[in-house]
């Protein structure tokens, strides 16, 4: 019974596809999958905006939105209806294009943002047997389409013909290119251990239990380091605080989408959040066991529930970090990427190799942990070296 509940979406897909003639079945199947992704993840986005506003409100000792519920009734749903008026508002707002803007590129930028982000979902396994395409080079595909997001950001910044947009776009390019390297290098360790780029294969490798605890990669020294590196890099890739320099509202208004309004702005917003979910989904798949359960006695819970709850948990950590950390300066951002993240990711690759060649021995645990911890301590000290923290002196303002 639990198994049929677990496979309910797969069964439904087969049932729906059985209505169309044999020749059209692959097409129908992919259309249904696209419809599924297009309906589920924007829905998750809508709920996340409320969670974010309420969570940040609570962290700042406020209530957050708590008014909008079901229209024409007194039912408020704790404000969880807020996303509907927000959506209606952005749909009905005037779409203003600056006179000096490059109109075609300005129009295309949000579309170019959304398409690669949506494509990335094609390879993520949301549950058991629930990836849209079982693609052998899935991880490579994910990073390849993810690279196209930078193009849309620069299109938006360039075509707006606004200095703040261009500044934001240039910051975004610098940041995304810098952080893509530790992102990919930290993912490489998993590929080394599993020996496959297929994301379903990677999840299957983690779906084993010893003493009732799953073999998630995050429970190994190299996996933990890889996960933390991946997590920080994915924060930077999705332009979230403390890496929100491309859209730093206190410095450059809204960065590359300063000149966007109405639904195009909403599309950028949607694209950013969907990109964030995709990259979190990849992080879950690589290090947190994808759709598997952490302990063997909870395997009866449907796989997609596990995936979604892990996704929401990490989104909550993102919100938590957003409410805690202030924005980095540009040079701090670059120093952190090139002087800390990149060396640590390279050392982590080495550690993954050592882990593999030491075999199933228990000694590999202390050895790998010691190398990673030592590297972390040394690199962290190097990063904080030469930093004279103290009272700031303003040379000209006094």
């Amino acid at each position: 019974m639990f198994n049929s509940l677990d496979q309910i979406f797969v069964t439904a897909l087969h049932w729906l596809v059985s209505f169309v003639p044999e020749a059209l079945r692959p097409l129908a199947s992919s259309l249904v999958c696209i419809a599924f992704i297009l309906s589920v993840f924007p829905g998750v986005f809508a709920i996340t905006t409320i969670f974010e506003r309420k969570g940040i409100g609570r962290i700042q000792n406020r209530y957050g939105p708590n008014r909008v519920g079901i229209p024409f009734t007194k039912i408020r749903l704790c404000g969880f209806g807020q996303f509907i008026p927000d959506g209606i508002k952005s749909l009905t707002k005037e779409d203003i294009v600056p006179r000096a803007a490059d109109k075609i590129v300005h129009f295309l930028a949000p579309v170019v943002m959304l398409i690669p982000v949506m494509l990335a979902y094609a390879v993520l396994p949301f549950g058991k047997n629930m990836s849209v395409t079982d693609y052998d080079a899935g991880l490579l595909f994910f990073f390849a389409v993810g690279g196209a997001v930078e193009l849309s950001v620069f299109m938006a910044g360039w075509s707006s013909r606004n200095k703040y947009s261009l500044l934001g776009a240039m910051r975004a390019i610098a940041q995304m290119v810098s952080y893509e390297i530790p992102l990919i290098l930290s993912a490489v360790t998993v590929v080394m251990i599993v020996g496959s780029l297929n994301l379903s294969e990677i999840v299957k490798h983690q779906n084993q239990y010893t003493f009732g605890i799953a073999h998630w990669f995050v429970f190994t020294p190299w996996g933990l380091a890889g996960f933390i590196l991946f997590f920080i890099a994915s924060l930077a890739e999705s332009n979230r605080t403390p890496f929100d320099l491309p859209e730093a509202e206190s410095e450059i208004i809204a960065g590359y989408f300063t000149e966007y309004s109405g639904f195009k702005f909403a599309l950028f917003f949607l694209g950013e959040y969907l990109g964030m979910f995709a990259i979190i989904g990849l992080g879950i798949t690589l290090f947190l066991g994808g759709w598997t359960s952490p302990v063997s006695f909870l395997t009866w819970i449907p796989s997609y529930v596990w995936f979604l709850s892990k996704l929401m948990a990490i989104v909550f950590v993102f919100i938590w970090i957003r409410a805690t950390l202030p924005r980095l300066r540009m040079d701090q951002l670059m120093n952190f990427a090139w002087k800390f993240m990149l060396p640590l990711a390279l050392i982590n690759i080495l550690v993954a190799g050592i882990w593999h060649y030491l075999g199933a021995d228990w000694q590999r645990w202390p050895v790998c942990a010691a190398i990673i911890f030592g590297a972390y301590a040394v690199l962290g000290r190097g990063l904080m070296h030469n930093q004279k923290l103290g009272k700031r002196i303003y040379r000209y303002a006094e």
Binding site: G55, R58, I59, Q60, N61, R62, Y63, W320, I321, A323, T324, L325, F340, Y376, A377, L379, G380, R381, L383, M384
Partner: protein, 212 residues
């Protein structure tokens, strides 16, 4: 070590997050339309007219002296004086305003009218939910709506109301004492005149004599 302070900061925000669900004191937000903050003693929004007693038309303290109308910086007060007079709280006949309008779309809540009023008549109200669909008529407040009892004033500004009541009581006492003194002097004069008519009789002609 790197990251220590980040963990400390995360702990602080987590404590705030969970604390806001546990203790109500943390939340400073007032859920406005349902809840209201108690206004501060010195809250002031727009002026109103104070009246004594129960009947607002009879008890209105305003004597239509038009000082507030003249002093009002944005000129939002409009007064028409009455032709006849009616007695005020001292029993003295005074004018009263036939029309007293305040355009609160113009009023800037400066309280100058309150400062200049010699009759403790115009005071500041604490009501602020005055939005209306009619932006001309709805914001022009006439005498009948402006008149509010002294009891209301004592409720919204207890300290100021006590002060102004003391001023009025002092004025009244002074007026009564004067009237009493005048009455006594009159009575004395009458008794003196009765007791010594010959002594008093030459006195009146003496005055013109002195003057000339």
């Amino acid at each position: 070590m790197l990251g220590e302070q980040i963990i400390k900061g995360m702990a602080v925000t987590a404590r705030n997050f969970f604390g806001s669900y546990v203790s109500k004191e943390r939340l400073t937000t007032v859920q406005y339309p349902e809840e209201h903050l108690v206004p501060k003693e010195n809250t002031r929004q727009f002026p109103f007219l104070v009246y004594d007693g129960d009947d607002w038309e009879k008890g209105l303290r305003c004597v239509a002296c038009q000082i507030c109308e003249k002093e009002c910086p944005p000129k939002c007060i409009y007064i028409v004086k009455s032709k006849d007079k009616k007695p005020d709280y001292k029993g003295q006949p005074q004018l009263y305003p036939l029309t007293f309008d305040i355009d609160i779309s113009v009023c800037m809540s400066c309280q100058i009218c309150v400062e200049v009023c010699p009759f403790e008549s115009i005071k500041m109200d604490t009501k602020f939910e005055l939005s209306t669909g009619d932006r001309f008529g709805g914001l022009l407040i006439s005498k009948d709506k402006l008149a509010k009892s002294n009891g209301y004033y004592q409720r919204i500004h207890p300290q100021d109301a006590a002060d102004s009541d003391a001023v009025i009581a002092a004025e009244k006492a002074k007026a009564e004492a004067k009237a009493k003194a005048a009455a006594e002097a009159k009575a004395k004069a009458a008794t003196a005149a009765m007791a010594a008519p010959p002594a008093a009789a030459p006195a009146p002609p003496a005055n013109p004599g002195q003057k000339s």
